[in-house]
Symmetry: C2
């Protein structure tokens, strides 16, 4: 049997934290972007997210859990204690105040922001980068982050007025990928395009009105070079000046009668087309790395 | 100026319908599956869905709208009137009762179910079919329906305990595709697999534990034959017996550290891999149509 992690006994003297305990009150404020921005902290709820956060050294600040959940996920409490982090029992009511899901899984970690500057991410030489330019729906943003991770992207840039990557719904939709890839926040999408190109990446803008067909690009070997993909807002797409700044404007082919794909589906198709091309350049196609025009 | 469509003047005598008007009361019951199943009807809200429904002759039963929306979308009211369908003005409160979105767009149509038997759909020789086997989230189901339409699928099968295709959230997520492709409801997913195979389609099951890599299948020309894709539940995937019944068990490659893709993203990648292979069989690969093993 594992001995109870450090910190739990101490709290047990006065009982689990309630929604009115000052540390719970402070943590629950992190549901608001203003408080996340001010403190540089955010919440990650559920055992999967907490585990991924703990795996990334220096990310977790403290861990809250119901007594039942801290027993059930003893590895998390032990991991936090090993890292010398406070682990605190909370009541069910306090947990509900700290979480946003209907059926919270009993644990929530206060984490430090982990985004890196764009230059730092590009210095690591990613061959695939996703840029979210104006995506407002946190579930969509988190899903694209997860898909980009799965497709092997090294960095995901939250640019312009894209949703906060630390929004709870985005964190949950990312299913841990927030902790895997280099997440970048950048105020100016145009500067991101310039930086990607300066780093040697081809910049492709997805738009339903693109003059380049995704399959054509793949067939011609044009996806085999390091690529940064720009994904725009659900309703209105990318702003025109950003589309114009890209090396090519790419449409996902629509074979049936659907007028468009939803954002996450379009991003999945584009990112996986790149993933495949980067690993298996087409035989007989143009040499990899030829500029897209 | 277009004259007001038939029916609106009549209703105007007593004013717009309220939430207590019997026809509104009857229509709003269609939010419940029980009542949809009993009546064979469902609701399609918003101008896009109503337009697509009207384009499919015999689908719309009646149209409700606020006076402002019926003026704004005069083509819809006129189209319904031309088809000899009742068009009724409703109050904002009645519209809110008939719709499920936070910002409804003023029009909602009562529609007849439009699913077709599996045999009828297969008789039309679709080269790409998506089978939803146990998908419970209506937003996911509708998104996969939309993506399948975009990828050129001829039929989408809602099998087993998959969500009702006429669930309002599914209808909205399909973005009109419910009205484009042959939608099939089938109680027994195993019988669907048998019927697909009897119709000459290769049956591929998506699973994170598949022994066939999607890119490998594509490289070997194995996606160039008519294909039925099986997509399982978000959390638990396909049931084992269904996975076993398929011709191959296919995994989408995970290049990064994500443990999985979400359902809609995985379906998009698979369906578009098929769409591409069906249109552009790989040169130098195995001949199209070779069975997948």
């Amino acid at each position: 049997m594992q001995s109870p992690p450090r910190g739990r006994r101490l709290d047990a003297v006065t009982g689990p934290f309630t929604p009115r305990t000052p540390r719970v009150v402070a943590a629950r404020r992190l549901h608001r972007r203003r408080d996340r921005d001010a403190t540089g902290r955010f919440l990650a709820e559920g055992p999967q997210a907490v585990r991924e956060a703990l795996d990334r050294t220096g990310t977790v600040v403290e861990l809250f859990g119901t007594p039942a959940a801290l027993d059930r996920y003893a590895d998390l409490a032990a991991g936090a204690a090993r890292a010398d982090l406070p682990v605190s029992e909370v009541t069910d009511e306090a947990l509900a105040a700290l979480t946003e899901t209907v059926t919270p899984q009993g644990v929530v970690a206060v984490c430090r922001h982990l985004d890196v500057p764009l230059d730092a991410a590009l210095a690591r030489g990613p061959r695939l980068v996703a840029v979210l330019a104006g995506i407002r729906d946190p579930g969509n943003a988190g899903t694209v982050l997860r898909t980009a991770d799965a497709a092997g992207a090294g960095a995901v840039v939250f640019a312009g007025d894209t949703v906060d990557p630390y929004n709870g719904k985005c964190v949950r939709a990312s299913a841990g990928s927030l902790f895997h890839v280099d997440v970048v926040r950048a105020a100016d999408p145009q500067a991101v395009v310039d930086a990607l190109r300066a780093a040697g990446l081809t910049v492709l803008a997805t738009t339903g009105y693109g003059d380049s067909d995704l399959d054509d690009l793949a067939d011609r070997g044009r996806l085999a070079a390091p690529t940064g993909w720009l994904f725009g807002a659900e309703a209105h797409g990318l702003p025109g000046e950003l589309t114009a700044a890209a090396d090519a404007r790419v449409r996902v082919p629509l074979h049936g009668r659907a007028e468009s794909l939803n954002l996450a589906a379009a991003a999945a198709v584009c990112l996986y087309a790149s993933a495949r091309a980067l690993r298996r350049p087409r035989s007989g196609a143009h040499p990899a790395g030829e500029p897209v025009t």
